[in-house]
Symmetry: C3
Subunit: 450 residues, 3 copies
C-alpha cells in the first residue's frame, strides 16, 4: 500500500505515530519504564500524603503533570476527603531491641492509615494487630484501613512464627491530620476538545504490577503523545483509588460530556496476556476499538463484560457518570497469586511486558485518531476511479488490495459507518482504509464528517 | 447472606413465600394434590354441564372460587356458547342384556356431546359410531363432537374385538339443551391491580395429567397465595377449553391491560421434565422469568417458542388479545403415549411430581414479586458503603458476595434494569439481589420505581 | 394440501407458475438455453458497438426487448459514455503471411477497445502488446482497455512460444468513434407498479458462463413470465458492465423507489452449487426470500454478505442508490479457473445447469408473488373454523397440516408478518401457507394488506 500514502504528509499525527511504532524499540522503552517503576517502588504511598506527592514528582520527570490538592473535609459526591496520612517510621522491637518488623525495609509492613502508636504490648495483643498470609508464608500482605481508625502490621507468616517474646515494643510514627488529597493530571490539547482519558491509581505502596506498572505506562504514553499533532485531546490522571476519581469527577463535571473514550490502566507489567474489561455501556467505540486492536495484534487477550468490582472504572462507570471507560490490563486484579502481597515486587514486572503494553495503547490511540466517518461525495454508482489514476486501466484482471479498500470506503461512507465499521465488514486493516480515505479526500470524492 | 435480611421483616410477602418454600414438604403437599385429582377423576366433564359444576364445587374446598354461568347462545367473539350437555347413563348391551360398554365404568366411553340415542342396531352400524386405538388395544380413546351433532362410543380395541353379536341395544341418556357454560374464577387482591393470570382447562373427563393435574395445582397455588401480602393481584380461572377462555376474555376485556403475566397450566403430574412454551410476544418478563427460575432450579427443562396449537394460550395469544401468557407443563400434549386415552389415569400422575410442579410455580411467583426496578439515589460514583457498615473496613482483601450484590444493584439501578436483568448480568441469585436492594432501600440509597 | 386449493382458480399467477414448475422439463429447457448461448458465443461484444446490438437482436427472438441507445459523451453520474468501438477483423501475420493470431477464430484474441493498428513490428515490440496465461498455456486470457487508448492481442501461452519470427504484420481493423452505448430492456406490467429487476451484463465477448449464461437465463425467464398474471411488474436489463447500469440508473431515477427486489444474474451454467450474495442492505425481503427458496430447494448453496467488488450490484448497491439488489450465481467470478479465459467456453456450461438455475429463479418469483401480508379480521381468539368446515369436527384427535397452516396464518396476520415470516417461524412451506391464506380470504377471515 506504499503508493497510497503519498498524501500522508498532511497528516502528521498519523505519520508521526506510525513512525513511532515502526521505530519501536521494546528494549530501550522497557528499560525506561523499569527505571520509573524502580524509582517509585520504595516510596510509601497511600490515598493521601507525601508518598503520593513524591511519586508524582518522580513522574513529572517524564511529563510536566500538575499536582492538585483537595482539602480534608471536602465533600465529593457521597464521600468526604479524609484526613491526610503521613508516616516517618514504624517497627516492632523485641526484648533485645532488635527490629523484628521494620517499615524501613518495606512500606507494606504497616497497615495503611494506621494511627500513631508507641507502646509495649504483649505478643497476644500484638497478634490481633498483625496480618499474615499462612498459605504464602514468605509474602507480606497488603492491608489498609482508610475509613476506620486502627493500626496494624503486615508481616510474613514466617516472621510471625519467629516472634516468641512475651512483650514487644510497638511504634508507628504516623500522623492522621487535616491536610489534602493529592492527584496528578496532565492534558494534551488536540485539534478538538473531545477527550481521551487515561486514569491509573497511584495509592498503592510497594506493589509493582498493581499499580506502578500503570503509573509508569501512563507517564510514558503521555510523554510520547505530547509532541504529536492529534485530533483528540488527551488527559491523564494519577489518582488515589476510589476517592481520587471521585474527587476528579466532582471537580470536572463540566468536562465529562467531552470525554469520548477512556481507559483505566493497571497490571500492565506481568507476563500474562491482555485483558480488556468493557465499559458499563459495553459497546462504545472505545470498547469496539480496543477489541479490534487487540484482535489484529496477534497478542493473546481476553475481553470481559463490565462488572462493578475492580478498579476505578467502578466510579467512571457508576450510573450517574457512565463514561465510555474500560479497563486495560494484563492479568486482572486478584487473578495472580502475588496480587496485594510483597510478591508483587520488582521481579514480577518486566520491561518488555511494560513496553508491549505501552505500544498496544499507542496502537489504540492511533486507531482512535484514524477512526473517522466520511461522506461519499459521489454516491450514485461508483465514481470513475480509473480517470483519476486510482484503478487498474486493464480490465479482466483482478483488483488490488488498494482498489478494494477504495471501494469499501466509498461504498460505506454514507455517514453511518466509521472506518472501524468498514474494517470489521471488509476484514481490511483500518490503517489501509484510513490511507484509502485520505486518498479519496485528496481527490474530492470524500469528506470527513464533523 | 443471612446477615442481609434483617430488614426482611418489613417484607412479609417475600418472607412468607420464602418460609413456605423452605418448609416445603413434597410428600404431604403431593398427597393433598393427589386427593383432589382422585376426587375429580370419576366425574364426567365436558365443555358445559353438571360435571363442570361438580368439579368446581370440589375445588371450592381449596379456595372459595366463584362459578360464572354464561347462557347458551351468548356470542363470544366469533363463537356462540353452545347448548348445555348432560349425561346420566350410557351403555351398549349385548343380546344377553350384559353391558359390554358401560359409561358408569369410565366417562371416556361416550363421545363428548353425544346426542341421546336409544336403539337396537346392527353391529355394522354400531361400528361406525365406535372409536378404538388399534395400536393401544387396552386403552379407551378420548373423543368429542361439540359443534357437530352426532353420537358415539369409545372403547378399547380388545373390547370391540369381543363384540360379535349381530345386534346391540344402544343407549345414551343425554340431553343437549339450552343452558349455560360454567367456569370458575378466583382472585386475590394484591397491593396493586396489576394481575398475574393462571388458567387451566376443566373440560376433560377422566384424564389425569391432561388436565386434572393443572386444575389441582392451580387450586393449591391459589390456596397457598391467598393469605400472603402480595404486590400483584392473582387471578385463577378453571375454564372449558377454547370456548371457556373466549367467554372469560369477552367478559373481561377491560381487565386485560392489567394482566402483566400469565400461565396456562396443564400436564403437571407426569414424570417428565418441565416444558415452558413462550408467549406469542416471546420475550416478555413472564417468559424470561419462567426460564430464569427453571434455569436456576436445577430441574430438567426445555423452553420452546410459541405456536398457535396447544392449549388455551392459543386464545390468550391470539393477535387481537396478545397477552404475555405462556404455557407451563411437564410433558406437552400429544408427546406422551397416554395422551387423550384412558392410559392418562390415576397411575400416570404422582403426588411428588405435582408437588414439585407447584413449588416451581411458587418460585416463579416469588421471583415476579421480587422483580422490581429501583433507582440509585446516589448515582454519581459509588456511595460510601463502609460509612454505613455495608462494606469491609479492611482494604486489600476480597469483597464478600453481599458486597458484590450491593454493588451490582447500585450500578444497574438506573431505571432501565429490573432485578432479573441484574441477576442475568451478574450471575447472582435474584433473591440475593432482592435482599441487597432491600438493605439499600433501608439506607436511603435506593428507591423502588413505580 | 390438494383440498385447500379449491379457490386457487382465482389466482391464475400462482397456479400458472406452479403449473409451469410442475411441468418443468429440464432437458428441453436446457436445450433452449444452450441454443441461445451457442448463438451468442461467436459474437464479439464489448461495452458498446454492433456486437452488443447483434446479441440483443438474437435475444429478441425470446422476448420483444427494446434497444436503448445512449450517445457517446452523455454524462451518467460521475462517468461519461465512451466512444463506440467496432471491429471487423484483426490478426498477426508471420513472415509467411500466415495468420498466427486470428480474431476470426476467437473474439478474445483482441484486447477490448483496441485502437486501430496496421503495422509491421518487431517481435519484441509485439510482445509488449500480447497477453498470455503462463500457468494455463492453452487458454486465451480476456483483457479490455475501455478508458485508456491502447491496443493488444490475447493469445495462448503456447501460441506465443511458437512466434519466433523477428517481425510480424499486425492489423486491428477497429474503429473508436462517437456513437452510442446500447442496452436492452424488457418490462412486464403486473397488477402493481412495484418492480422486480433482473440485470445481467452483456459486454463480455466469447465467454459462456460469464455471462452468456446470465443473458440467456434472463431472456428465458422473461419469456416464461410474460404471459402470466403477476402481482409485481418485472423489468429485465441486458447492459454493458458498470457503465450500462449507470446509464440505466441515470435514465430511470424516478423508477428506483418502485424497485422492491432485484437480482444481478451471472455465472449460471457451470456445475457448481448456488451462491447468493446479499444486497448492501443485507436483510431485505429479497435477501431473505432467495435464502429461503434455496434453503427449501435441497440444492447446495452458499449465502455471502455484500462486498463492493463483483458484478453490477456494485452500482445498484452504491450508497446513493442502495437498491435491494443481490447477485445470484453458481460459482462466483474469479473462483473457477476458467474465469475470464477461453476456458469459459461452450464446454463449461451445461443445459441442465442453466435449466435448474432458471427454475430456481422461477421459484424465487413464485415466492415473492405469494409473500403478502394479511390482516386477521377476527383477531380476538381463534375464529370458529369448524363452523366453516375448516376444522376437524371430532375433538381429541391431532390436527392436520392444513389446520396448522390456517392457525399460523391467523395468529401472525397482524399486519407485521408476511407469509415468509410465518414460514420461518412455523417451519411450514410458504406455498402451503399461501394456500391457507387464500382459503381464509375466501371465508372472509383475512384480507390482503396494501
Amino acid at each position: 500500500m506504499s503508493g497510497v500514502s503519498e498524501r500522508g504528509a498532511s497528516l502528521p499525527h498519523g505519520n508521526r505515530l506510525a513512525a513511532l511504532l515502526e521505530g519501536w524499540e521494546p528494549a530501550s522503552e522497557g528499560a525506561a519504564l523499569m527505571r520509573i517503576v524502580t524509582d517509585l517502588y520504595p516510596i510509601c504511598r497511600s490515598i493521601t500524603g507525601n508518598g503520593v506527592r513524591q511519586s508524582l514528582q518522580c513522574l513529572s520527570r517524564e511529563v510536566p503533570l500538575a499536582l492538585h490538592e483537595v482539602a480534608t473535609g471536602t465533600p465529593v459526591f457521597d464521600w468526604i476527603v479524609p484526613p491526610e496520612w503521613n508516616i516517618r517510621d514504624a517497627y516492632v522491637k523485641d526484648r533485645s531491641g532488635r527490629r523484628v518488623v521494620d517499615f524501613q525495609r518495606s512500606s507494606l509492613h504497616v497497615v495503611g492509615y494506621s494511627v500513631p502508636v508507641n507502646r509495649r504490648i504483649s505478643l497476644e495483643e500484638l497478634r490481633s494487630h498483625v496480618f499474615t498470609l499462612p498459605d504464602r508464608p514468605d509474602w507480606i500482605p497488603y492491608r489498609t484501613s482508610y475509613y476506620r481508625e486502627t493500626w496494624g502490621f503486615c508481616v510474613t507468616h514466617r516472621q510471625l512464627a519467629q516472634m516468641t517474646d512475651s512483650y514487644y515494643e510497638v511504634v508507628i510514627d504516623s500522623t492522621l491530620e487535616p491536610g489534602h488529597l493529592t492527584y496528578g493530571e496532565y492534558r494534551i490539547q488536540g485539534a478538538t476538545d473531545e477527550e481521551v482519558l487515561f486514569s491509573c491509581h497511584a495509592c498503592h505502596p510497594s506493589l509493582c504490577n498493581d499499580n506502578l506498572s500503570g503509573m509508569a505506562v501512563a507517564a510514558r504514553l503521555a510523554s510520547h503523545l505530547a509532541p504529536l499533532e492529534l485530533r483528540y485531546s488527551y488527559r491523564f490522571v494519577w489518582v488515589p483509588g476510589t476517592i481520587g476519581p471521585l474527587a476528579w469527577l466532582a471537580a470536572n463535571e463540566e468536562t465529562l460530556p467531552r470525554v469520548k473514550h477512556g481507559l483505566v490502566l493497571s497490571c500492565l507489567g506481568d507476563p500474562g496476556g491482555f485483558t480488556y474489561k468493557r465499559s458499563r455501556l459495553g459497546n462504545t467505540e472505545t470498547d469496539r476499538m480496543v477489541e479490534y486492536v487487540l484482535g489484529i495484534s496477534g497478542a493473546t487477550f481476553e475481553v470481559r463484560d463490565f462488572t462493578p468490582t475492580g478498579y476505578d472504572e467502578r466510579q467512571y462507570c457508576s450510573p450517574g457518570i457512565n463514561l465510555p471507560v474500560g479497563c486495560f490490563m494484563r492479568t486482572p486484579n486478584a487473578e495472580y497469586p502475588e496480587y496485594h502481597t510483597s510478591g508483587d515486587g520488582l521481579d514480577l514486572v518486566k520491561g518488555d511486558a511494560l513496553a508491549v503494553s505501552l505500544s498496544m495503547l499507542l496502537r489504540v490511540v492511533e486507531a482512535l485518531e484514524a477512526n473517522q466517518r466520511y461522506l461519499n461525495l459521489s454516491p450514485k454508482g461508483e465514481p470513475q476511479l480509473g480517470r483519476r489514476g486510482l484503478y487498474r486501466s486493464m480490465g479482466g484482471t483482478s483488483g488490488s488490495g488498494r482498489e478494494e479498500a477504495l471501494l469499501w470506503v466509498l461504498n460505506l461512507s454514507d455517514g453511518e459507518h466509521a472506518l472501524l465499521d468498514i474494517a470489521r465488514r471488509s476484514a481490511l486493516d483500518l490503517k489501509v482504509l484510513a490511507e484509502a480515505a485520505d486518498l479519496l479526500v485528496g481527490h474530492g470524492l470524500l469528506r470527513p464528517l464533523k
